[in-house]
């Protein structure tokens, strides 16, 4: 029996990659017995242990694998920053705090194929000399936490975790740590603070986690999907991984598509595919496209033309001044209202700002309150310019990348859909009277 999963086996006569999704449609693929029948843990053998740590890191560098959590940093390079022989342990921390609005890939990975993550963690842990690894998982994801804990227990029972894995001499323990409802904890240094039991506010870098992270020891933080690609690369080599994707964005990636398409869901596609083709793969667009958020809510929005011409790789989106981000694709049609979409995004960022840096804490709040006024038909001339000013003021003036991520949707929605905002202002008979800034203070909204 197969599980419900919308991705077809072939598309336009070509096979789609199944590096990360091999077990997504296999019943009980989350159990060790079934996963093993499909080749799980085949790298936990001479394939891995006959190679040196250096060779594995080199292979991952050559594969061109990049971080799939959002920033797209080259994974092998991140690993190569870890200093050796410092006398401190090296920690591997898996970022499973998936919370970027529109993203729902990691949660599916954790329920459908948790053993691939564990196998990837053993591969990575061996390459980096890790004895203790953590999975930091979003606290609300109860089914995923259960699935992962069950899989870890199965792996321990089968001698795939713990002391002397499969007689290799390599030992690894994995601990699951729950988050507690804070978007900011997806930022790696905030995640580390949270892992240590503190409130999850980001740390100023440097020092980078690779040098001084969890418990002041060298720490590598990688996304779930990133680590799930590692066993394939270790087993088949960098060249095999590069059969998919583009030269600079090799391999496959998971994309979560929601919004105005017929078959929303998680798909694994080669990087470099056109968004237009991806919409077709996902059952086709509903209605006439107005725009698309190409990589999660903080990725600058694309207008209709850009959406249909862009390709799904890091370089194309960077050229369009947007980003691939977490791979959350949300196209929306002409029946949707960009102003209230931005209002909903701005409310989210105002709520989730951790409060550490003043420009972000105050700026996101003011933008949110201006948008509430505008959306309620109480906008005044100058409000749009004021939002732009505020967003630019917090874009690059804070400790972490949250503030730029909160600024980009504001700046891009205003740039691409200005006429919609102006139409809202025109709804207010007093729009020309100008704005009294006191009307925007938090107290004015109580």
């Amino acid at each position: 029996m197969t599980l419900v999963w919308p991705q077809p086996k072939t598309w336009n006569g070509k096979e789609l990659p199944r590096i990360l999704t091999r077990l997504f449609d296999v019943e009980n693929g989350h159990t060790l017995a079934v996963a093993k029948q499909h080749g799980a843990y085949s790298t936990i053998s001479k394939t891995l242990f006959d190679k040196s740590q250096f060779e594995i890191i080199q292979t991952v560098i050559e594969s061109g694998l990049r971080g799939r959590g959002g920033a797209g940093f080259p994974t092998g390079m991140k690993w190569s920053f870890v200093p050796r022989n410092t006398g401190k342990p090296v920690y591997l921390v898996i970022n499973a705090d998936e919370g970027e609005p529109g993203t729902f890939k990691d949660r599916l990975c954790l329920t459908r194929d948790p053993h691939l993550l564990i196998e990837g963690m053993i591969n990575t842990g061996y390459a980096l000399g890790v004895r203790t690894a953590y999975v930091y998982i979003r606290g609300e994801m109860l089914p995923q936490i259960r699935a992962l804990n069950d899989a870890i227990q199965e792996a321990y029972n089968a001698g795939l975790l713990g002391e002397n894995i499969q007689g290799s001499g390599y030992s690894l323990d994995i601990y699951v740590h729950r988050g507690a409802g804070a978007y900011i904890c997806g930022e790696e240094t905030a995640l580390i603070n949270s892992l240590e039991g503190f409130k999850g506010q980001p740390r100023l870098k440097p020092p980078f986690p690779a040098v001084s992270g969890a418990f002041a020891a060298p720490t590598v933080v990688n996304n779930v999907e990133t680590i799930m690609a590692v066993p394939y690369i270790v087993q088949h080599g960098a060249k095999a991984y590069r059969q998919w994707g583009t030269d600079k964005s090799p391999g496959s990636k998971l994309f979560s598509i929601s919004g105005d398409v017929h078959k929303q869901g998680v798909y694994e596609v080669p990087l470099g595919m056109k968004y237009a083709d991806f919409f077709d793969l996902a059952g086709g667009l509903k209605g006439e496209i107005l725009g698309c958020i190409p990589g999660g809510s903080s990725a600058p929005v694309l207008d209709a033309k850009e959406s249909m011409e862009a390709t799904m790789d890091y370089e194309c989106l960077a050229a369009l001044k947007s980003m691939l981000g977490s791979g959350a694709v949300t196209p929306f049609n002409t029946t949707r209202d960009p102003v209230t979409i931005l209002e909903s995004i701005a409310r989210f960022y105002a709520h989730e700002s951790c409060g550490q840096c003043t420009p972000c804490r105050e700026g996101t709040g003011y933008v949110n309150r201006i948008l509430q006024k505008v959306a309620a038909g109480q906008g005044r001339d100058g409000d749009i310019e004021l939002m732009k000013d505020l967003a630019e003021s917090y874009e690059w003036t804070t400790i972490c990348a949250f503030a730029p991520g909160a600024a980009w949707p504001v700046l891009s929605f205003i740039k691409k859909f200005r006429s919609h905002f102006d139409a809202y202002l025109a709804k207010n008979p007093q729009h020309a009277a100008g704005r009294d800034l006191k009307s925007l203070t938090p107290a004015a909204f109580m």
Partner: protein
Amino acid sequence: MSTNDQPAAPAKPVLAQPAAPGKPAAPSDQTAIIAKRWRAKRGSLIMALHEVQETYGYVPRDVALKLAPQIGVPVARIYEVLTFYNYFKTSAPGKFVVSVCTGTACHLKGSGDILANFSAQLGCKEGESTTDKLWHLQGVRCIGCCGIAPAVIVNGKVFGKLKPADVGDVIDKVLTADAAAAKV
């Protein structure tokens, strides 16, 4: 810092179901058990607080005060963490917690109207509980159910692809399921 201060095997998954409201629990015993389980493990305050919340449905003040010395963490740090993280509650929620997703995908598909309808039908505002403490209504950030937007979670059960008119049905379903569970 060595890795030896971690036990060899992972802690047993702690996923106790929330205690049913009204079910008596002895705070001091329960707190001692939780403190003992997590005291020696570095960075485990959040895990300990999860267990408290799973036991009581929220983190009662007296439990937090008792937990602090037993786990070796100042009360101020416990409250720093409790108030930073959105998941932790410091007062008892309603029996049925309705979480309406306000993420981008759900917003597109009309979560605003869903929230408004719940508010009207339950007679309480977002972020508040009904006077009989039976229902608590909250808007929450993206819950990762974007594929079945707009989505609502009531006590862990997900309702997807809702229309504003379905709100009454959801309320009925929750009450019916609860009545059926009470009979067993």
